[in-house]
Structures are given as C-alpha cells and as structure tokens.
Assembly symmetry: C2
Homo-oligomer: 397 residues x 2
C-alpha cells in the first residue's frame, strides 16, 4: 500500500527543505538542520538517511572541535547525481556537467558552423559532443540525471526550437525529443540568453543584483531578464529578444525578416566587417569560442588602439545603448550586464552604452543605471543549463 498523497507530499516537501538548507549552508549537523528547519530531530534524521541513500547528501567525519556530542557535518554529495548542460549556438556547440555543488566536472566546446549544416546533422553532432562530456563525467564517478539544452533561438514550452533567426533552416526542430531519445534522460530546452541570465543569477560575483538584464552578444544578440530574482520569460516564453529591437529603421535586413535590428548593427559579424577584420559576413568559426579566430583578432586590434576597430566598437556600443535605453524605459531595471562577446569587448563598449543611457533613460537623474560586465565568460549558457537540472533536483528533494 502506498502512503496517502498528503503524507507523501509533506515528506517530499520536507526532504527538499532539508536539501535546500544544506545547499545554502553546508556542514550543518542533523541537530542544526532540525533547528534551522523547525522539524523534529527524528524527522530530520529520517530524511537525511533517505538523502544519503539517494546520494544527494554526503556525510563528513564528526567535528570534534565543537562542544557536546559531536554531529556529522552534512554536505551536498559532489560525487552523486549531476546535471548536463548543452549549448547549440550558431558557430559553436558546447556541453558541460555540473555536480550537485555547482562545480564544473567536465566540459567541451566544438567549433562548427551550424548555418552550413542541416538541423538533423547539427543536432546529431551536438548529441555526440554531449555524450562524450557525459562519459567523461561518469568516468569521474558522477551520474548524469538530466539535461538542459540552450539554443540561440525561440523555444516553445515542449522543447521545440520554433525559429532561430541566424540559422535559417532550423525551424520546428524538436531538440527536446532528439536529445531525450538519444541520451535517455529527461531534457528541457530554453533560449541561450535565458540560461546565461540564470547562470549570472546563480554564479555571478557577489553582490549579484536580483534585478538585471544580461545582454549576450554572439552572432545573435539576446537578453535574459531577471526581475526580483526570477527569470522573466514573457507570456509565451519569448521575452528578451533584444537583438530584434530596431535601432535603425533604414538599416540592413535581418534573418528575422525585418530590417535595422540591433544584431545587424551591433552583432559579432557587423563589428568584424566594420572593423575590417573580415571582408564579409558568414565566415566559419570567427567567434568567441575560437581562440585564434576573428574575435581574438578584433580584440587585439582594439587593444592596440586601431582607429577603425575602435570606431566599429564605438558604433556598436552606441547602437546597443539605444536599444538598451529603450528596454530600460519600458521595463525599468537598474543593472545591465554584458555577456559573451560583449563581456570580452566590454572595455570599449561600456562607455558608449553608458553615454546613450545617460542621454535616453528618462529616469536617469534619480534612478541611474549601472552597466557592468559579466565575469562568467562564454560558459554562462552551459553552466546555467546544467544548473537548472541541479536546482530542479534540489527543489524536488
């Protein structure tokens, strides 16, 4: 006979409470957990035993330094269940595994140009990368229990990539189904900027603000909006498409079907062409993931003071500032963080962005906007993806 539903729910709730408590403050004893949660010591002990068996918690040897009867400090098990994060972007794919404590335990990135592949071939390659990274983590003693896929496009609620403006052939691609079938794991799919913003919220340097927009630049430009410590997704889950805000109504045409969109003026390829680093758009592996690629060259030229490069970055910063000012005027968030490519080029982008915000944000005089650079680098999306698996595991107890 199974337990009544109510009992089961209460027990699961309390397991999650204990697990979250250990995640937030490791090395507590059972007695300390009982105090912190308000549960009885007997209840806590039973739950902890279950969590040890499930390999979600681990026990350290008793702390002899404390007074009275020593309790065994409890920590999240860094060698138990783990989360797999995958990123499918325009010019690279990436995967990583995080253990329960949030440490990266395996990671690989591969330069590709998904504009030149069919969705089936591109997804297959990403699955193979993910399987290699999973195998690395499992060889290290971890058990991958779920995966989350970040993709540079718009995703529906059942894990289907509806549209990726920078990957013209990739429409209605069932990423959730493909990864789930191949890897035999529960899989969720989200926009890459959303996952990067979650990574920022969870792993950003202290003091990490709870209201911010993370503007991620790669070939496409996306934004993840966090309000009061929660990702803001919008009614259909498509919020944050900052790359398709118009900054120049007479500007160049965009893969989304419109023209003058921010990413056509301030995206990676627009900057590279304008700086003269590449002659035209669509060059393979130019991006942030390529250590000796065109973005590295752009950075070198900017650092060396090359006038054309500095002008290209200044223009991109101005366009970004116009779009971000509009965003802040309608959404009213106090912090802008630059991610991905924009973080790497932040030295030359923050000033022109700030100048536009100082001109254009109507509440600027008494509600100034802070513009900063994310420290997470190009790992943000995969880390955020893997961490959603971990967090869901902890929340469900």
């Amino acid at each position: 006979m199974s337990q009544p539903a109510g009992q089961h729910t209460v027990r699961q709730h309390n397991r999650a409470l204990v697990l979250r408590q250990v995640a937030d403050a490791p090395r507590q004893s059972r007695a300390q957990l009982a105090l912190a949660t308000g549960l009885t010591r007997a209840t806590v002990s039973g739950l902890v035993d279950e969590l040890l068996v499930a390999e979600l918690l681990a026990e350290l040897s008793p702390d002899r330094g404390s007074r009275g009867r020593p309790g065994s400090p409890l920590i999240l098990n860094a060698n138990g269940p783990a989360g797999l994060g995958v990123e499918v972007n325009v010019d690279y794919i990436s995967a990583c595994v995080l253990d329960l404590t949030g440490q990266i335990r395996a990671r690989q990135t591969e330069l590709v140009d998904n504009r030149l592949t069919t969705p089936a071939a591109g997804v297959d390659r990403a699955i193979r990368l993910a399987q290699r990274v999973r195998a690395d983590a499992e060889a290290d003693g971890l058990t991958v229990v779920g995966a989350s896929i970040g993709v540079a496009g718009l995703v529906d609620s059942v894990g289907v990539l509806r549209r990726a403006p920078n990957l013209p052939g990739w429409q209605s691609v069932d990423l959730g189904g493909a990864f789930g079938d191949a890897m035999r794991l529960p899989v969720t799919v989200d926009n890459e900027a959303n996952l990067a913003a979650l990574a920022q919220l969870w792993f950003g340097e202290s003091p990490q603000p709870r209201d911010f927009v993370l503007v991620s630049g790669e070939i496409g430009v996306g934004a993840g909006v966090v309000l009061d410590g929660q990702l803001y997704r919008g009614v259909h889950g498509h919020a944050g498409e900052l790359g398709h805000v118009v900054v120049d109504p007479a500007g160049p045409s965009c893969g989304c079907g419109a023209n003058g969109c921010l990413e056509q003026v301030a995206g990676q390829e627009a900057m590279l062409v304008k700086a003269g680093v590449v002659a035209e758009r669509g060059v393979i592996s130019t991006g942030l993931a390529a250590p000796d690629g065109a973005v590295a060259e752009l950075h070198r030229r900017a650092a060396a003071g090359d006038a054309r490069t500095r002008q290209a970055l200044g223009d991109a910063g101005t366009a970004l500032g116009i779009a971000i000012a509009g965003f802040i005027n309608v959404v009213d968030v106090p912090v802008v963080l630059l991610g991905g490519l924009y973080a790497r080029l932040g030295e030359w982008l923050v000033a022109p962005i700030s100048a536009e915000l100082d001109r254009r944000v109507v509440s600027r005089e008494w509600a100034p906007v802070e513009v900063g650079v994310s420290g997470l680098g190009s790992d943000a999306c995969v880390r955020g993806a893997a961490a959603t698996v971990i967090n869901a595991l902890i929340e469900s107890g």
Copy 2:
C-alpha cells in the same frame, strides 16, 4: 482594552473577504455569503452588520421569490464612500468620482495648457477642479474617502512628480502633499498610463485580456503594462515609458533630453503638424479633450480621406509599430490596446501598426499579436485613479 493584534487582523481579513464577495457577486444573502466564504453564519452576520454601519454595504428588501426563510440581498452601497480620481495632463485636467460599485457619479474636464503655467498654479487649478467635482458628488450623497492623481510624468513612491518631459518646469512637484493638504484626504499619485491600464483591466469590454499593453497617446505617449492581471511597474515604478523609445536615431530632439523618441514622431503634435492641421507645436487646447480642437479637425480630415492627413497617420502608425514591436520582442505580451488619442484615430493607426508587428515580432508566426482599440476613451486615467481608491477600500475591508 483593544483586541489582540491577531484577532483584529483576522476580523479585518474576513470583513474584506465578505466585501470582495459582494463586489464580485452582488445580491447574495448572509447565508449564501457564509457558504461562499466558508465562514459561519454568525461570523458573516456580525461582519455584515459592521459593513452596513460603515456604509460599505446596503441591504435590499428580502427576496420573496426564493424558498424557505428569505434572506436580504446585499449589495455594495452606491451612496456611501466614494473615490476621487484626478488627471493632470499637458493640455487638460480632469476629475471624476466613482461610487463603490464603480459608477461615475461626477466628472469635469478643463482645457488648460500646463506648459504655460507654473507647477504651483497648475496644481492649484487642478485642486480647485477636484474640489468642485468632490462637492458635486457629496451633494449627491456620497462621501469621498480618498483620491488618486494621475500625471503625465514619472512619479516616485512618495507621490512626488520627479519629471514630466512635456512639462519642462515641472520637476520634483509634491503632488501627493499638495492635494492631501488642500483636500484633507489620503492621496496616492501614479503615472497616467498606469492608471489608464488599470481602468482597462477593471472596466474593459469582456473578454478583457489579463496580459496586455495599453499604449496611450496624448501630447506625450505612455504605456501601461499588465501581466497576469497585475500592473507591471518596474523596479522604481517607471516602467512603460514607451514614448521615449527611439524610433529614429536621427530624429527630432525631445523634452526628455534625447532625440528621435517615439513621441516626437508619433505624438499628438507631430501628427497635427505633419497633417498640416497646425503650423507648429505648442498650440493651446488642441487635444482630445477639446471637442472642437485640432484633434477633432485631424479626425475630420482623416475621415474625409485627406491624403496629407492619411499619410501623417500612416507614418505615425509605422513609428508606433516599430516601437511596439521592440516592446513585444523584449516583454512578450499578446495584446496591444490603443488608448486616448490613438483610440480615437484607431481606424487609421491599427493597420500600419499591425503591418510593422507582422514584419518585426520574431515570434509572430506562432504567437500572433492582437492590436485593438480601448473603448474607455479619454476617461480611462481618471476612472482608473478613482477605482484604485475604491479597490483599496474593498481590499482593506
């Protein structure tokens, strides 16, 4: 001796529950209210007696048509406490009183040009208007218990107008203090587009969506954003400043200090000048509130098919569409409603706005955006303002 705090809070909570129940479904008896709320009949009877004494509820004569012992149907008291709403806009001021049932019981609008007055004189005039409307309502047997002021500018959390881009001298104007002192009432202050959006949520035609943006045009352009049935205010309360989203980086300078803002391209004065109805900006009482003003002439010319007017409205619609598409790409709401001046001109604005959304919203293919016209007219802000007073009264029990 006063009651313990806990008891007091519970009683107030239950009073509010009963009052909200009557507001949502009038003409229930005490017995029906007990069933609906889960409270005992004795508790409900006690609370109803208090609410009758406070004149929040009224009792109709017993309904003889029903079986068993007849109960007296209860309704909100339409002749008891009332809410005062005031709007201070650029070229008109307006006030109205709503009774508890949400009916307008007194209303006046006055054409002014607040650009030509000092804040002190402008506020004084608005207070005098509000006092006349209050006197009308009180002569009708109502008791005004609070006021809410809507203003075409950015308001802080303590009722100070920080800045009104279309009223250059109006900075740091303590509207809450001025109205509160003069009228001896509790006063709240909010942005006029926010209050108009609340009016739309509460009084809009059924089926009223619970996720929408109301784009209000007058001399300035503002937006009220409603997400899941709640007004979205942003971190500092300044969300929805759509009028200052850039639609033309090379466009005309704006009162906010920037240039190319939507309201300089698609606001009332831009349309009037472009259509040739007025020769230049800044004419007194041109607006929606003036029945024989320039906006009425604009409407006549558009209806008569005047090519220059139609072109001016088409251009304004395109600019609005560009700004709204950007808004939807970042905030992801499915419904746009046009308010104020834009509602009156909706016949010629909806098509060019929709055309831009069809080109520019990246999720358009599977998440289409509906563009409609608010039926509330130019009363939306004052009705929303007065209704916030009423709603606060009902919520507090």
